[in-house]
Amino acid sequence: MDQSAASGALVDSIRIIGFLCNWCSYGGADTAGVCRFKQPTDLRVVRVPCTGRVDPLFVAKPLIYGADGVLVSGCHPKDCHYAVGNLYARRRLEVLKNFLSFMGIDQRRFRYTWVSASEGQRWQQVVSEFSETIHAVGPNPLARK
């Protein structure tokens, strides 16, 4: 499980799952696209109505089954379309983040963040940073089982 020595071929097949809230981050990603900001291609996006919809198991399952990273992004706290969905999500996801490494899953593989629909630039930055992190961490060792 020497992650740093992963070969180029494996790194190319990095897969990141993104759960984006319909109202902010999905719009933000759209804005980034419309503005033609260059983005890494590792991210597969799943649109959810709200980060409050994101069960921590949505994050755990891909990581257990071999996804290399999971990114959850929603409206900034206090800007939720449903008022408080992301506040529930914040607690759950923070607990999960602290829990993953206890079970032997690198917690750098999971990140949650807040991006509004107008923040195309910020979205580009978030995705690029996260993608770089995952490339540095390497492919998920659980994927080969």
């Binding site: 198991l57 755990a60 089954y65 529930y88 607690r91 607990v95 829990f99």
Partner: protein, 301 residues
């Protein structure tokens, strides 16, 4: 009706008993072999008949069990008014499986407690075992030996054996290992899991019953396939559904036929909710579990 403990198929094994009249009271016992958390029977299982109007149900609880009761009352799965709680300060219960494995005893005639020893009489002779050496892991880290709610306290309260700051030393020992070692540890432990769901069934707070997503086809989280990821995911489901709710009664670990330390997973989640959200489950019947609520001005997240 009163739910308590009684002698099982041999004196070393205790079984839950359901007292329906005065004549049953003689079946009740209390000793360090009373290992079951009985509170689950109040919310699931066909053994408990529906309550008649105005009637109460009696239940015997140790410190840990009383915390399960508090958690059930918090979530409105039980009403405090429908209960009559017999609280028992508990010095710790035994790991009966370890006792049986290490002693190799059979044909047990009687069991008595003499001071801090357990004396087991079988066909040939009397065997003495120090209670302290055979205590269950959950009891070695017990912070709440005295019931937190009760109507009647049966014995005098006792001092907890573990200070709050020492309660998570097993978790800390695990965290001292590297990520890879932890991964190997859980892979080999959880690989033994046979997905019998005993841990879920014994848990007083796992109350989804027939709707448990480990078994539903819609949504279909898990399949019948036997492989490590499915086992990992099952234990993630069980643990994450108890995050901020688990009272660490240790039933899941006690009933596991494969001797997997499953309570350790929940202990970690409880340590997180304690440090992050400053909450300890099962102490205040008025409180709301932290993951069922939110705080807009959260600090530290």
């Amino acid at each position: 009706m009163v739910i308590g403990w009684g002698t099982g198929y041999d004196p070393l094994h205790v079984t839950p008993v359901f007292l329906r009249g005065l004549e049953d009271v003689s079946r009740l016992i209390w000793n360090p072999l009373c290992v079951q958390n009985l509170t689950g029977y109040l919310v699931k299982g066909a053994l408990t008949p529906p309550l008649e109007e105005g009637k109460k149900i009696g239940i015997c609880v140790r410190g840990c069990d009383s915390r399960s009761l508090v958690a059930l009352i918090q979530e409105k799965l039980l009403s405090r008014e429908s209960l009559h709680i017999f609280g028992i300060p508990c010095r710790g219960t035994l790991d009966v499986r370890r006792l049986m494995n290490e002693s190799g005893l059979s044909q047990i005639r009687s069991v008595t407690i003499q001071g801090d020893h357990l004396v087991v009489q079988n066909d040939e002779e009397a065997h003495r075992f120090p209670l302290e050496r055979f205590l269950a892991r959950r009891c070695l880290r017990c912070r709440h030996p005295n019931p937190v709610i009760y109507d009647e306290l049966v014995y005098q309260p006792i001092t907890p054996r573990t200070a709050p700051e020492d309660a998570y030393r097993d978790v800390e020992a695990m965290e001292a290992r590297s990520l890879q070692e932890r991964h190997l540890f859980w892979s080999s432990e959880l690989d033994r899991c046979i997905r019998c769901y005993a841990c879920r069934n014994a848990c007083p707070l796992c109350i989804c019953q027939d709707r448990c997503i480990a078994e539903t086809r819609e949504p279909r989280w898990l399949t019948q396939r036997v492989n490590l990821p499915e086992k990992f995911l099952y234990h993630f489901i069980h643990a994450l559904h108890l995050a901020g709710r688990c009272t660490e009664c240790g039933e899941c670990e006690r009933v596991c036929p494969m001797e997997i330390p499953v309570t350790l997973i929940k202990e970690k989640l409880n340590q997180i909710t304690r440090d992050l959200l400053h909450y300890e489950a099962g102490l205040d019947p008025e409180a709301l579990p932290p993951l069922l609520t939110y705080n807009p001005n959260e600090a530290g997240i």
